[in-house]
């Protein structure tokens, strides 16, 4: 079966992104397809490469990046939400005149239409939030 996942909260503050990660991993392990993981609202903050969590804690961002690499996951960060919250890739950096980018490996920035498409294409949309 084909799943799409929506993540509404950032790393560490809310368990939402942990639950979304565990759900996605379990779905992949059961042989399901993940059409897309869409990061919305503060969820876009999962896509920053600048985190350095304590050694004895999980690294939420790296965990997503590794899952994406292993399973060729499509992880999309909403551009409008990202602009409000400061998540920037090379293109956004140029367009908005910023002097740095902070997007983590495996994440790409795109429009809200990607969420709608994810819901159209998948058999199930599963939302994780606050």
């Amino acid at each position: 079966m084909k799943f799409s996942i929506q993540v509404n909260e950032g790393p560490y503050q809310h368990q939402a992104t942990d639950s979304a990660y565990q759900f996605t991993k379990a779905a992949l392990e059961k042989g399901h397809e993940i059409f897309r993981v869409f990061f919305y609202h503060d969820g876009v903050n999962n896509g920053t490469k600048l985190t350095t969590p304590p050694q004895d804690d999980r690294n939420i961002v790296n965990r997503w990046s590794e899952l994406a690499e292993k399973h060729d996951l499509d992880m999309v960060v909403c551009v409008a939400a990202a602009q409000r919250r400061g998540i920037v890739d090379e293109g956004e950096m140029q367009r908005n005149g910023k002097d740095a980018e902070n997007i983590a490996p495996g994440f790409r920035i795109s429009g809200l239409g990607q969420l709608i498409e994810a819901a159209v294409q998948a058999d199930r949309l599963v939302v994780f939030g606050d």
């Binding site: 609202h41 409000r84 239409g113 709608i116 498409e117 819901a119 949309l125 939030g129």
Partner: protein, 136 residues
């Protein structure tokens, strides 16, 4: 792209302004309108506050997105379900809400109400009939 039309429901259970969910939810509804799905929007629990008249955010200096609800009709988003029990619990009636309309091209652009006040039982049944339920 699949050619199927799905029944999309956007659920709004949060008050506006205190958090951004209501506004960013509305942004999804507007973008989604381009996708030719069968769209409904539900407002219940604190979501009914989103539709209150006379919202003016000038003194909190945040973006006032409440006039945007009036544009939903132009985007062919015409089914706005508002739960009666949620209104009553909050001391509100339909008269406290914005008067949202859409124009029916099949009836010579007759103006019709977008808001449908429904009971909790009716709303539950509407939710049950959807293909996809968005929550923010």
């Amino acid at each position: 792209m699949s050619e199927d039309i799905k029944k999309f429901m956007y659920v709004n259970r949060r008050a506006p302004h205190g958090t951004i969910y209501a506004w960013e939810s509305l942004e999804v509804v507007l973008i989604g309108a381009a996708f030719d799905q069968d769209v409904s929007v539900a407002f219940f629990d604190d979501g009914v506050y989103q539709l209150l008249k006379n919202q003016d955010t000038s003194d909190i200096e945040t973006k006032n997105f409440s006039p945007t609800y009036a544009a939903l009709g132009d985007y062919d988003v015409t089914k706005l379900y508002v739960e009666q029990e949620s209104l009553e619990e909050r001391g509100l009636t339909i008269d406290d809400l914005m008067d949202l309309k859409w124009e029916d091209e099949d009836e010579d652009w007759a103006e019709k109400d977008s808001i449908r006040v429904v009971s909790r039982a009716e709303l539950s049944s509407v939710l049950d009939q959807q293909d996809v339920i968005f929550s923010f």
